[in-house]
Symmetry: C2
Subunit: 223 residues, 2 copies
DNA sequence: CAGCATATGATTACGCCGTAAACTCGTCAA
DNA sequence: TTGACGAGTTTACGGCGTAATCATATGCTG
């Protein structure tokens, strides 16, 4: 048992422990208080030690976003799509309320991690079970996303980089489909029509806007 | 003409020139490149000189948000409320596209400046002209805001501070009403019922969410 | 067991950040 | 002429992210 006896007094750092501490620090002291040095301090370690487990601070931000996204309960698929969607949205909102720094970080961070993809996949799955064709599910994803997370983020938005050609886009779609079937289907559809693997933000925006305006119109008429 | 001859070669700094340069810098180099030193450099001045015209960097952030909010064209009030609202939303979105850093800054900045208030007032004005009762106009403001700006922000949200008592809340509402009549009406209404001068975020969220879900439901049925 | 590779954390250092405080200097009123 | 003042400069401090280097403990190989 020599290794047990000589175990260091503090648990060894891991990426998970670092991210957990980062979420904690952001929750309790605000996202601006999240610095490498303070984070290390909370873990009983010098700030530079964190770089053994994390590429840089950006990776921490991506990591904590993904960490809290995975806090969102996956929906039980009872009931119709609408109640399932409502449940999932409220669950997501609950998490955002628990971590008030999250929307601002998400807005500033275009990277999409696995937990976010899983969430998007769940949303698309619910919508498709409700009979939504893929393009409308895409619209719905955006308008719901802006409501829940205060932003719109596309799972395969390469607007900043060069656009992949059709072949590599299809390959990416296939890779996605392996882990996230519904996201994969969406990527596939986007690859086929003129979408070029992205989505037309203007169309997206107008769809959500008109959805809201029509909804308001109907409610004011009901009165 | 001695003063003309001895006029300094560079125009004197003003708060307006500082904010204008700040917007420019954020537009061209990204919001992260907006530092006091670089901003001063762009104006041909040491960074510290800016503090004569601006309290601190936070004031600059508030200032540039207000500056771009005032870029949003005020709507011409022709047509029905819905087309007016649509026009205004698209105008706001155009400004956000011109300044891609804006949503992230807005999300992180709870202060509401005069130009933002003016915009909110315009939104409420359109809605009231469309027959919206004040509480529904309030809901609509939030759900539209989250669509256009990627966030929800309340003009009189003191949740962090102590809540003002009814008398001071009413006084604040009156002060607002002087410059922003529609906002003032809203504040007034919020003061009366159980609102305590704020708004119930949960109710707000559910309203917008159900509006969207119902709208989606209708569109998928139409197919 | 000896010796060494590897992994983990500590130290030091650099340049950038926001900003407090003191300073310089040109302008203008008395 | 003088003295106050306004605007910009200089210097300085602590905090930030992180590159590079060092120290040490662990575990594997012979």
């Amino acid at each position: 048992m020599t290794e047990t006896a000589s175990t260091p007094l503090r648990a060894p750092l891991t990426k998970e422990r670092v991210l957990e501490a980062a979420v904690d620090l952001a929750d309790h002291a605000g996202i601006n208080a999240l610095s490498m040095r303070k984070l290390g301090q909370g873990l009983g370690v010098e700030g530079m030690a964190l770089y053994r487990h994390v590429r840089d601070k950006e990776a921490i931000l991506d990591g904590i976003v993904d960490a809290i996204m995975s806090e969102i309960d996956l929906p039980d698929r009872t009931g119709d799509w609408k109640t399932a969607m409502r449940r999932l949205s409220l669950a997501a909102r609950e998490v955002m309320l628990r971590h008030p720094w999250a929307p601002a970080v998400i807005v500033a961070r275009p990277e999409v991690g696995p937990a976010t993809l899983r969430h998007i996949d769940a949303v698309l799955g619910i919508l498709q079970s409700g009979g939504f064709p893929i393009d409308m599910a895409h619209h719905a994803l955006h308008v719901l996303g802006s409501r829940v997370f205060g932003f719109t983020q596309d799972p395969f938005n390469d607007t900043n980089d060069v656009r992949p050609d059709a072949a590599t886009a299809a390959a990416m779609a296939n890779a996605l489909a392996a882990s996230y079937p519904n996201v994969g289907r969406l990527a596939m559809a986007a690859t086929h029509d003129g979408g070029l693997g992205g989505c037309d933000d203007d169309v997206e925006f107008a769809f959500g806007l008109d959805l809201i305006l029509d909804g308001l119109d109907r409610r004011v008429d009901e009165r």
